[in-house]
Symmetry: C2
C-alpha cells in the first residue's frame, strides 16, 4: 500500500526481476566484486558467496499504480489444478464454454488478410484449405536465436483447437511441419532437429495455430501438460482419424479461470 497525496491508502503492484548475466560484463563482475566469502571447499570443488557492486546487479522493476483488484489478482500466486477432459467433458463443458465466451480472434484475421503485421510474415502457403502463415511470436524480440519463437496460423477459420482435428487435416498439418521447418532453417539457419514444434491444449485463442520454439529454450507452455508435438498429432490421426474426438486430454487451469469453475460445477474436479 502506498499513501497517495489525498492521504488515502492505494494498492500498488511492484514486480522485481533479476536479469540474465550479460556476457561482456562477467569479467568486470569477477574483478570488481565487493566481497568474496568461502562457503565450502572439497577437493577441486569450492563454493563462494560473491557480492557484486550495485551497477552490476540491476533489478528490473515494474510498478502498476494505482492497482485495481484485478491487477492484484493477476499477480497473486494462484493454485493450479490438472483437469483430465474426456471427449464427453469437451462436448458438455468445454465446447459450450468456448462458444459462450466468443473470444475475439480478429487480430488473427487481420494477419491472415494482411491488414496487420504483413511485413513480419516469414512464409506463407496461400492455399485456403491446406495453407498457413508463419511469423515471429510477440514474445520473441528476434535479437538472439536462443529464445526463437514463431507461430503458424492456419488460413481455415473452422478449426478451434486440437479437439477439432481429424484425418482430413493431415495435408495441412504436414505442410506446417515441413514448410515451417524449411522456412526457419533458410532464414535463421536453425535446423529442424533443433526446433520444438507443438500445439497447446487448451490454447490461449481458438484459431488453430502451431508453436515453433528453439529446443534449448524452456518456453512457457512447453510442459507435458500443455504441449502436444505436431509429429505425434500427425501419427495419432494416422492411427485413428477421430483420435481427438475420443481420447482424454490433460491440461492445467488456474484457480481463477472460469473453465475450472465449470468443471467444478459439473463435479469433474
Amino acid at each position: 500500500q502506498i499513501t497517495n497525496p489525498s492521504g488515502e491508502g492505494t494498492d500498488a503492484v511492484i514486480i522485481l526481476e533479476k536479469t540474465p548475466f550479460r556476457e561482456e560484463k562477467v569479467l568486470e563482475l569477477l574483478k570488481k566484486h565487493r566481497k568474496l566469502e568461502l562457503q565450502m571447499s572439497n577437493d577441486i570443488y569450492s563454493t563462494y558467496h560473491l557480492f557484486p557492486p550495485p551497477e552490476l546487479s540491476e533489478i528490473k522493476t515494474t510498478v502498476v499504480y494505482p492497482a485495481t483488484e484485478k491487477h492484484l489478482q493477476k499477480y497473486l500466486r494462484q493454485e493450479i489444478h490438472l483437469v483430465r477432459e474426456t471427449w464427453e467433458d469437451y462436448r458438455d463443458i468445454t465446447l459450450p464454454f468456448i462458444q459462450a465466451q466468443s473470444f475475439s480472434t480478429q487480430w488473427v484475421y487481420n494477419i491472415l488478410e494482411k491488414k496487420a503485421e504483413a511485413d513480419r510474415i516469414l512464409h506463407e502457403n496461400p492455399d485456403p484449405r491446406d495453407g498457413f502463415v508463419l511469423l515471429p511470436d510477440f514474445k520473441w524480440n528476434q535479437n538472439q536465436l536462443d529464445d526463437l519463437y514463431l507461430i503458424a496460423l492456419v488460413h481455415r477459420r473452422d478449426i478451434k483447437s486440437l479437439r477439432d482435428l481429424t484425418a482430413e487435416h493431415l495435408p495441412l498439418l504436414r505442410n506446417i511441419l515441413q514448410e515451417g521447418k524449411e522456412a526457419i532453417t533458410k532464414r535463421f539457419g536453425v535446423p529442424g532437429s533443433q526446433l520444438r514444434i507443438y500445439l497447446h491444449y487448451q490454447p490461449s485463442y481458438y484459431h488453430l495455430h502451431v508453436h515453433f520454439t528453439a529446443l534449448g529454450y524452456e518456453a512457457p507452455g512447453s510442459w507435458v501438460e500443455r504441449a502436444h508435438l505436431l509429429a505425434d498429432v500427425i501419427d495419432n490421426l494416422l492411427t485413428d482419424p477421430s483420435y481427438y474426438q475420443k481420447r482424454a486430454l490433460t491440461f492445467a487451469l488456474r484457480a481463477d479461470e472460469l473453465l475450472l469453475k465449470r468443471f467444478q460445477e459439473a463435479g469433474r474436479v
Copy 2:
C-alpha cells in the same frame, strides 16, 4: 585460465548463479537500494532500473579448479538435437546401445531391498509383480512443497523403459497412479490434481520409474519432448496393448551423447 604457482596456465570452471529473492528481504531491498532510474512510464505502468546494495545481491559462485577437459566439456554450451525414434530404430539402435552400456542400477536394487535409504520410503506396495516403492527424489530437499519431487521405483527388474510396457503392466501402472497420489496427499496434503505424474523417455536409468512433481514446479525434464503423462500411457495401452512397440517417440540428445552418435552413424539424424 588461472596461473598456478609453477607458472603454468591451468583451466578453471567458474559457475555464477543469481539466487531467488528471499521474501523477508524484499522490504529491505526497496528501502536500501542505491539508485532507482525511471526507464519508461505509460498510464498506470512504469518500469525502473533498481540497483541494490551488494549485501542484498549475492551471487552463488562455484569453482572447479584445476578443471580437466571433461569438466570443461560438461559446462560448455552444447547443441541439442531431437531424434524421432521409430520402433525399428529402437530395436536396431537404442536397444543394442543400452545393452552394450550395461548401466548399473545397483543403487535402485539397494533401495528395493532396503539396503539403502529404507527410512526415506514414503509408501510401498510389496507385490513383486504389481508393486513399487515411493520415495523423495534426491533433487528435493523436502524443505518446501513448491518443488516437491518423488519417484516411484517398480519392484520388477525386467522393464527398462516406456518401450517395454504392454497391457500386461496396466495393474502395476494403475497402482502407481492411484497409491502414489494417495500417499502424497496423506503425507504432504497436496491433492492429486496438483501433481504432474510422468515417465521420461529416454530415462536417465533403465529400471522403470515414475516421476511425481508439484504442478507449479517447472521441473527439469517435464518438457513435452521428454515427459509422458502416466494417465496417457495407461490410455495408450488400453487402446493398443502393443502401442509402445509400434509408435515413434521423440526425444532430445546433447551433441556429446553416444546415443546421438549411433543415430548419426545409422543416418537417422
